[in-house]
Symmetry: C2
Subunit: 253 residues, 2 copies
DNA sequence: GCTTGTGAAGCCCTTCACAGCG
DNA sequence: CGCTGTGAAGGGCTTCACAAGC
């Protein structure tokens, strides 16, 4: 999960748990696929499998939206597609601005998944004057100097930051000042934003590191003896106490 | 959060909660920055701020690793960097293969954050024969036909999937068959993998949809009571009950 | 009979608040 | 005295299991 939020922790948005909100797009995708195959109804079991969750969780998730199913039958696919879309706010158009048109920014601009569902890449912004005017994915890149105007003119409320880490906070500040209230941050930086602004973070290197942690664990399971179970509680009286491994002479990483 | 796991839910890896593991890279990044500025020690309060979490959480996280701090003083930066690196398995080299060298795959290949910390892009693989041999980020692209051999030869255990959704499951199967046990999936697909294989998912469009949900909610707060957009239709046959909003005549999305 | 919707139980994680220790 | 390390309390999410309803 490449995710991080900046949100009132205990606030359940309109009674819908955050964890449920995060799964709605998953359900929506599975339902859309069913809809395209003209499947009229689906059971919680089938839909759960398609979405990669278990059926009890799915039913509880849907129960927060309302009673949209029919007992003994299942859920009406089209109806659910609409209800979830509406709940997520996808029945309206969301103009999005991408700031930082490097490799990643260009990749996102070209990414079909953006346009597919309510989102529209309204502007591409970069600090390099040489890029100004160059079209990327058919959209001309504009210069950072005009950021304020671009955001206002297009009514952008969602910004995507794909700049180098050093520029991210400054870009973020300018986006917020211009009226952006939701930010998707790909730069490996902790952004600070005023109350009321949502930040979500996608961090590729963090994802890899989490995988490496588990990967290492798998490798260790084979060889080492049966030393699982109880972690060493308070051990050595003083001095450093960790599971194992002390400082090496040469620092890696 | 662009995150999805496929993991034994109740298994705390070596006693370290999954939530803690997910934050270790964050701490590591903040610590590395301090290290570069030659800061010798840091308090839980300072480090927590830099990492964007609260200090109680940070201290509890560190307590799972061992007692690495000094009361009244704080934590030794270099020492913590090493301990966290070791815990995450970053003291070893992880060869990574990227499959699907489109815009996103190329962006990842060029992404500096990969190489920076234990990870090395060992191979780029694509199904397009025309790309074979073309260097991307200085690494020649190889053809999917040789996937098996490429994985084995390079000892790759972590694979990154950046193919179109239709190809993702098949690529995944082949990666797993070749010995990959951790997968970072950028394709908007639910991958099914055998037990023992970890999958993490990064889904850009899901992130946007979650932002849209909150964004919509913010907008709704101002003009409360205003019509939310969906014209009531689909005369409730016998009591569909949702918060509000019934089926519209024309299906959006 | 079959599937939804949901109280209840349990688990995991966060937060609190302070004892413990340098 | 300051800051860490940690029991205990609290909250949210998941899972169970079954009553409700078509």
């Amino acid at each position: 999960m490449a995710t991080g939020r900046t949100h009132r922790p205990a606030t359940r948005s309109r009674g819908i748990p955050e964890a449920t909100v995060a799964r709605l797009p998953l359900y929506l995708r599975a339902l859309t696929a069913l809809s395209e195959r003209s499947v009229p109804t689906v059971s919680s079991e089938e839909l759960a499998t398609a979405a990669g969750v278990n059926s009890a969780k799915l039913r509880k998730d849907f129960s927060y939206l309302g009673s949209y199913g029919t007992r003994g039958v299942g859920y009406d696919v089209e109806y659910l597609v609409y209800q979830i879309s509406r709940e997520l706010g996808l029945t309206q158009d969301w103009p999005v601005a991408i700031v930082g048109i490097g490799n990643l920014g260009a990749a996102l601009a070209n990414y079909g998944g953006f346009a597919s569902r309510g989102f529209r890449v309204a502007a591409l912004i970069d600090a390099d004057p040489a890029m100004a005017g160059t079209p990327v994915a058919g959209i001309p890149v504009q210069h950072t100097d005009d950021l304020d105007r671009i955001i206002s003119d297009n009514g952008v409320s969602i910004g995507v930051i794909t700049t180098p880490p050093g520029a991210a906070q400054q870009v973020c500040d300018r986006l917020v000042a211009a009226g952006v209230t939701s930010i998707l941050n790909f730069a490996p930086t902790v952004l600070s934003v005023p109350e009321g602004v949502d930040v979500r973070k996608v961090d590729l290197s963090i994802e890899l590191q989490i995988l490496a942690f588990h990967e290492q664990r798998k490798a260790g399971e084979d060889a080492s003896g049966a030393d699982e179970g109880a972690p060493p509680m308070r051990a050595t009286p003083n001095g450093r106490k960790g599971p194992d491994g002390d400082m090496p002479a040469v620092m890696p990483a």
